[in-house]
């Protein structure tokens, strides 16, 4: 779907704006501002993925080495070793230098592996000392906040932020102290995540340093939706504790409508026929209580509107997964499920032909 996006550079955009008189042509201050926003060039995604895989395997080996080789018996020792590894990772990164050299590459890879090992040991130690899952959450949060600006590696920022959110999910879903209020806590947490994700997506004033947190939040919301549809596989609770998906479904539908309004240029623009239809569709999705499907569509719409291919890919990959789960979980026979599937499909196709009939899809020959 991303191939239907336009592909312009900042240079093209500034030229278009100056041609219409919105900015001055050749405004050096403006150009410097745009360049300053892009302070550091990230390595390509495939290299970051390769670094991540290597660090993951290496950190498992290191944890094995420490667990077996150092004969550590006290949890406090794990804590100290973990912090030492984190410190070592930061030092290695500081002294790794710049440029694609053997030294830099080896030190960066080692640094990330040490950081992953150190953080894992630190969190493990605190969980064992306090014998509480919440201690793990607080430990993950603490070490993430402490290293966020010191250790400037986007893969680490993303993974650490995601680990914090994931541990909260685990605690809310599995901790035994929450039998009565589990649903309230779960929904409250998801609500907070949506608010924070909206702020990071919407605000232009928030620094790019927080982009990894935004992606972590969206991934965490996917986990929440997946968790709800897979409750029997996770077996998080007894039957009477089941968390109903309606709140999350309505929340995501509201977020989808807000996203449509935001991308269209404000709530005032929602009066057009096409956008009214889109909002009605979003509301219908909310009513059928399928939060995963709504979230997948939300990701694709935001990705397309913000020109972020990763979000489109996330949505496109999650959509079939959530569709499968939704129909798998429906408590009706296979025959009725097939009827629901065909009916929903025909509805979408009808909407598509309506768009075509009203000539609202005039990009090229559809």
């Amino acid at each position: 779907m991303s191939r239907y996006m336009t592909s312009y550079s900042a240079s093209d955009l500034l030229q278009a704006l100056s041609a219409k008189g919105f900015v001055k042509s050749g405004d050096q201050e403006l150009e410097n501002f745009v360049l300053a926003q892009q302070q550091e060039t990230e390595l390509p995604l495939y290299i970051r993925a390769l670094v991540g895989v290597g660090a993951f395997i290496a950190s498992i080996c290191m944890i094995g080495l420490i667990a077996i080789g150092l004969s550590v018996e006290e949890n406090e020792d794990f804590l100290i070793i973990g912090l030492a590894f984190v410190a070592l990772a930061i030092v290695l990164q500081k002294f790794s230098g710049k440029g694609a050299t053997i030294k830099q590459s080896f030190m960066m890879q080692s640094s990330f592996a040490f950081m992953a090992t150190g953080k894992s040991l630190f969190v493990f130690a605190l969980v064992m000392i306090f014998e509480s899952g919440w201690a793990g959450t607080l430990a993950t949060l603490g070490i993430t906040v402490a290293t966020y600006y010191v250790y400037r590696m986007s893969v680490d920022r993303f993974l650490s932020s995601f680990a914090v959110l994931f541990s909260i999910h685990l605690n809310v879903a599995f901790v035994e102290e929450l039998p009565e209020s589990r649903e309230i806590f779960f929904n409250l947490f998801v609500f907070c995540e949506v608010l924070l994700a909206a702020l990071l997506t919407w605000s232009g004033k928030i620094r790019r340093d927080f982009v990894p947190v935004k992606y972590a939040l969206f991934c965490s919301l996917c986990v929440a939706a997946l968790f709800l549809v897979s409750r029997f596989e996770f077996a998080y609770a007894m039957e009477e504790e089941v968390i109903r998906p309606l709140f999350m479904s309505l929340l995501f539908a509201g977020a989808l409508i807000a996203a449509i309004a935001w991308i269209a240029g404000g709530p005032a623009k929602l009066k057009s026929e096409a956008l009214i239809l889109a909002c009605l569709g979003a509301a219908a999705l909310g009513a059928i209580a399928a939060p995963g499907i709504t979230l997948a569509i939300l990701l694709m719409v935001l990705g397309y509107g913000k020109h972020e291919k990763i979000m489109i890919a996330m949505g496109a990959l999650l959509l079939p997964l959530f569709l499968y789960h939704y129909y798998y979980e429906l408590d009706v026979s296979l025959l009725q499920k097939s009827g629901v599937l065909v009916g929903s499909g025909l509805l979408l196709l009808a909407a598509r032909f309506y768009l075509h009939f009203r000539k609202l899809d005039q990009g090229d020959a559809a």
């Binding site: 670094v51 080495l65 296979l334």
Partner: protein, 339 residues
């Protein structure tokens, strides 16, 4: 992970975030923002995108529903009704594809639907008449029947469907009909690599000759590269891990695996110059090397686990560092576009 910036305005992608930043820092007025957003994502592009999304998801849902319906195998429906319903659907899809023409997405999606319905028809046929045929025959006939449509489809998704069906046929045929001797079992990896490799080579040739612009999507290249790399790497890893019971077919497959990695590297390093397939090849080689080191350490340091973990960690860092270093060095040479 950061790099020294050598960035110009032309290197920075224009997106919504940049527009929002310009507005937030009062570099442009709200009217300027509206213009910039319309410049980046024109309204008609939105309509087209939503329309395609509806078409893709709607068709997928209808086809899933049809598959579910016939999987239910409702006894109340007479066999003739079942078969003629599918045939009717198939005929309508083909008629629709003819009407909309294969240059348009609507026509292509309808042809894809007809291809899926062909498989459904054959499954239901086997269900009704209990032909006793092996499963590989269903996939073989399915693959043969839709091959002609695939050739004329000009649609990447249709080719991927055909390739998936043919891969399943190959696997089932090897297991149910070819019945290879234990010594020959591993040759299936060569078969998979050859089939998917041929598809990849054809894709590259036709795109290079500008005869198939519809195949010129990076995801097709990456998907096919991964589909080739998996059967190339698997026999190498089996050989490394299972060194006392190696048949000649495994040796041949492993050799093909090595040569195949080399050929793929040459193809994307020098001929077509693309970093994504090169990264996939690098990852595959890293995993093979990791397996080799792990096997060596397990064999020689079984009693000293501490040393084994330590050396494995060091080796992992070294292997991946070299892979990352190599990729970073060739980025500038290949002038690959970053994500």
């Amino acid at each position: 992970m950061e790099q020294t910036p050598q960035v110009t305005l032309a290197d920075i992608p224009a997106n919504r975030r940049l527009v929002d930043e310009l507005l937030a820092h009062r570099k442009i007025a709200p009217e300027g923002r509206d213009y910039a957003l319309d410049f980046l994502t024109p309204a008609d592009q939105w309509g087209l995108w939503i329309s395609r999304l509806f078409l893709a998801v709607g068709s997928a849902l209808v086809l899933c529903g049809v598959v579910y319906f016939f999987a239910f195998n409702w006894a109340k429906i007479a066999p003739l009704v079942k078969l003629s319903t599918i045939q009717g659907g198939l005929f309508c899809c083909l008629l629709g594809a003819y009407y909309y023409k294969l240059e348009r997405v609507s026509g292509q999606v309808l042809l894809l639907s007809a291809s899926v319905l062909t498989g459904v028809f054959m499954a239901v046929y086997g269900q009704i008449y209990q032909t006793g045929a092996d499963a590989y025959q269903l996939f073989m006939m399915w693959s043969l029947f839709i091959f002609g449509w695939t050739v004329i489809s000009n649609f990447a998704a249709q080719w991927i469907l055909w390739l998936a069906v043919t891969n399943v046929f190959l696997a089932l045929w090897w297991e149910q009909a070819a019945l290879p001797e234990r010594d020959m079992e591993a040759l299936i990896f060569v078969g998979f690599a050859a089939l998917n490799g041929l598809a990849l080579v054809l894709r590259e040739v036709y795109v290079a000759r500008r005869q198939a612009a519809w195949l010129d999507r990076r995801w097709v290249r990456v998907l096919l590269t991964i589909a080739v790399l998996i059967p190339l790497a698997t026999p190498l890893m089996i050989w490394i891990l299972d060194d006392h019971d190696i048949g000649s077919s495994l040796k041949i497959s492993a050799l093909v695996g090595l040569v195949g990695h080399g050929l793929l590297y040459g193809l994307y390093r020098f001929k077509f110059r693309d970093m994504w397939p090169l990264a996939a090849i690098a990852l595959s080689l890293c995993i093979i090397l990791e397996t080799l080191v792990l096997d060596f350490l397990v064999m020689n340091f079984e009693d000293t686990e501490v040393l084994m973990f330590g050396l494995m960690g060091l080796a992992t860092i070294a292997i991946f560092s070299l892979a990352v270093l190599y990729l970073r060095r060739i980025i500038s040479v290949m002038e690959a576009k970053h994500v």
